[in-house]
Symmetry: C2
């Protein structure tokens, strides 16, 4: 495709690590301020008395160019003196908090307690760190993903980090999602008549994207938007690029297949981008009324991120 990349405004719904890669590609590709990222906050939790927003922070650090390139989360050149000392005092060390990262949590906790909104605090942090794309939490209200497993109903981070996503998933709950208000800025961005696309990042569909889509106002805004809604699949060749997506799908009794994702989001998405290795799936997906396109979706380098961002935007314009 040699057409120019559309440079109008774009909205990305995103979780953490995988979504942040695409967010970075869009951020570097588009003019300053054209990108709005609406971030999952279903992973947010209170730990050690601190308010922690893992996906927001991963997106913020990634867009600021500060993320640890080896892990995809946390800060590059981080130190771990706090965690070491906490362990010596007998504190809980299963959730890793680096010394510099800790400043984000301490300052966010302080400002939340002082009555500032999560959105306002995120905006202030982004301004300090030089992030020019707009990063919005999906809500200022609390939404908590909880995982029903064979080991009981677990808080998200207990399941995901402490128990390394090992328990067998029976179902997922997004507590508070039904009533959590979507930010007015997010609704305005989605309703923008000049919007090029609403993209859904290749984040974990059940853990990272589902909490967003569990908010009725956000679902309604996607349905009402004039811009096409395009998801990028995190399933490549019958496996997840990263993380427990495939494991969870199997545990939920679903086939690990892009057509399953397309059916899951049928009526909500206009298009689905697959990796080239999944070109054989295109017909099955298009039979569901979802347009499909293939490209290289595994993002290893910054160029990969920018190329996938450009592909997604070009593809979206064909769906207008």
């Amino acid at each position: 495709m040699a057409e120019p990349v559309p440079t109008g405004p774009c909205v990305l719904l995103s979780g953490g690590i995988g979504g942040a890669k695409l967010a970075l590609g869009l951020d570097r590709l588009l003019p300053r301020g054209a990108l709005t990222v609406i971030a999952n906050t279903g992973d947010d939790f209170r730990h050690l008395g601190l308010d922690i927003s893992p996906d927001l922070d991963t997106l913020m650090y990634t867009l600021a160019g500060l993320v640890n390139p080896h892990t995809g989360w946390g800060l590059r050149e981080e130190s771990w003196q706090f965690m070491a000392a906490l362990g010596e005092l007998g504190g809980e060390t299963w959730f890793q908090l680096g010394d510099r990262d800790l400043a984000t949590h301490v300052e966010r906790t302080r400002r939340l307690a002082a009555g500032e909104s999560l959105a306002a605090i995120t905006q202030a942090f982004c301004a300090r760190l030089g992030v020019t794309s707009r990063l919005l939490p999906m809500s200022d209200a609390r939404v908590a993903t909880r995982v029903a497993t064979d080991a009981g109903l677990l808080d998200f981070q207990d399941y995901f980090v402490r128990q390394r996503a090992e328990p067998v998933v029976r179902g997922l709950h997004y507590d508070g999602a039904a009533s959590a208000p979507v930010l007015p800025e997010a609704l305005a961005a989605l309703a923008d008549p000049g919007l090029t696309a609403i993209l859904i990042a290749p984040s974990n569909p059940w853990l990272s994207i589902a909490p967003l889509l569990a908010m009725p106002a956000l679902r309604a805004a996607l349905a009402a938007a004039r811009a096409p809604v395009v998801a990028i699949s995190p399933i490549v060749g019958g496996a997840a690029i990263k993380g427990p997506t495939a494991k969870i799908m199997r545990e939920l009794g679903l086939e690990v297949h892009n057509a399953v994702l397309a059916r899951h989001d049928q009526g909500l998405i206009d298009g689905l981008i697959l990796d080239r290795v999944d070109a054989p799936d295109v017909a099955a997906i298009e039979a569901l009324g979802v347009r499909a396109a293939t490209t290289a979706t595994v993002m290893r380098t910054l160029e990969d991120r920018i190329a996938l961002a450009a592909f997604a935007l070009r593809f979206a314009t064909t769906l207008h």
Copy 2:
């Protein structure tokens, strides 16, 4: 004096840096567990959402052999990544919190919020850090030193750290001291019939010791104790060894003189230890009914700390 050093139990009332030096001397001199330190908590404050107990921590780190020898507070080999990142986010950086030190505050804050007492948390931390002397906060209840100055009524750390003790002091308040319960363990230690001495550390009399003595139950316990009460003066040659003691005395209209300290504590202390340079003050102090003795009171080395501890205990036995 060549008499053996009494090795029975001893109680020290102490503030932070200066007091911690004597605490260390006593800790190293006495059998394990013989020393009980009752620490000023009037400096305690909530900062960045964290519950910070500066004097308790200085004592704990000192007794654990972990204190920064250059500053007398904080941890040795500390790193400052958290503070740097907090500054980048626009947070408040006037109160220095090292990366390892931060674990103490985060874990204490979490445990206080979970309903544990400050005394129990301090005991648990000391056990983890290998402190065998008993370190007690003066109360589990909140006592807050506030400083009336020409710049208004200031919270202690605002006056002491943020404004570097520069405002002119008009008066001091120990909010909550009149009603704060003294710990039963502290009262039991003070009433121990086998106690060698109750020592008052050469900490700032107005900022560090006065909050302790502002608690009626502690004052009463000193008056009722069979053990002699011996203070070590922080005034050497008409100046303070360290900190704003002399400045505050002048601002309060007091002469910077050991006799002024003796008169201030008349009826409460049985003895006052002065530096050798202040030998001419002995007569004036003894005229007030306070026994006085002189030795080297400036503690530069561990040997200085142990020597002063031994001197104080021997002097106390002469007052029984």
